[in-house]
């Protein structure tokens, strides 16, 4: 089998979105936002990951990320966040994927280079419960993406992504960096912001 090369920012964006979809499944499992029984073990870029079996949930994640892909490929996505709220809709955690896609050289890059870097992110997510406190019961989640201001004209009225409300997000959270990469074609950072006050009497 030949070496797959990423030839342009579109190729990198496509792989990043595929990776993002896997990360969302993985985070939902690790943070126990759904019963563990709905997840099955799979492999992605030679790394074990958890994948939701619930059809509507799978479709929801796939559709959200697919609709995000053109913006990622254009380089107008600043951040994609997965928010976790408690049953009072108060923010508990915010996982942040921060992107910076760059123009590739004409030679492109082997996909394996990026896959190797992405593997590190997946492994870090898989152990994130070791440095995060357990969530309270009945938490919910949502995705929010941050587009760069210059990209507002890229939003068309048929897009399933709609303006988000940012009220109530200015709490004093601590930020824990989980993984970052810098390369000539992609800078990416994953960090989690989480509440300082955590239950300790368990």
């Amino acid at each position: 089998m030949g070496v797959v090369r990423l030839c342009d920012r579109g190729d990198v964006g496509e792989l990043v979105c595929e990776f993002l979809e896997v990360c969302i499944h993985q985070l939902l499992c690790v943070r126990e936002l759904y019963p563990q029984e709905i997840f099955e073990r799979r492999r992605y870029i030679n790394t074990p990951v958890q994948w939701a079996r619930h059809p509507d949930l799978r479709e929801y994640i796939h559709s959200a990320v697919t609709n995000l892909q053109p913006w990622v490929q254009q380089g107008v996505v600043d951040k994609v966040t997965l928010l976790v709220m408690n049953k009072n809709r108060t923010l508990e955690e915010k996982f942040v994927f921060s992107f910076g896609l760059k123009q590739l050289s004409t030679a492109g890059v082997p996909a394996q280079h990026l896959e190797f870097a992405l593997r590190g992110f997946l492994l870090k997510i898989s152990v994130s419960d070791s440095f995060l406190s357990p969530l309270p019961p009945d938490c919910s989640w949502e995705l929010v993406t941050y587009l760069k201001s210059s990209s507002l004209d890229t939003i068309n009225k048929d897009q399933p992504w709609v303006p988000a409300d940012d009220e109530g997000w200015d709490q004093n959270f601590i930020m824990t960096s989980m993984k970052s990469m810098r390369s000539s074609y992609l800078d990416m950072q994953l960090y989690v912001e989480h509440s300082v006050e955590k239950p300790t009497d368990e």
Binding site: Y34, P35, E37, I38, F39, V144, T145, P160
Partner: protein
């Protein structure tokens, strides 16, 4: 700093309750136990 525009999917994700119902209605077994 620059201003960002925040967007979210128009629909919320399936609730935990809906997924739990799907589990019980479909009698889904724990995949982990089969694979580990």
């Amino acid at each position: 700093g620059s201003v960002s525009y925040l967007l979210t999917p128009a629909k919320p994700p399936p609730s935990r309750f809906a997924v739990q119902q799907w589990l019980s209605e479909n009698n889904v077994t724990d995949a982990q136990s089969h694979l580990s």
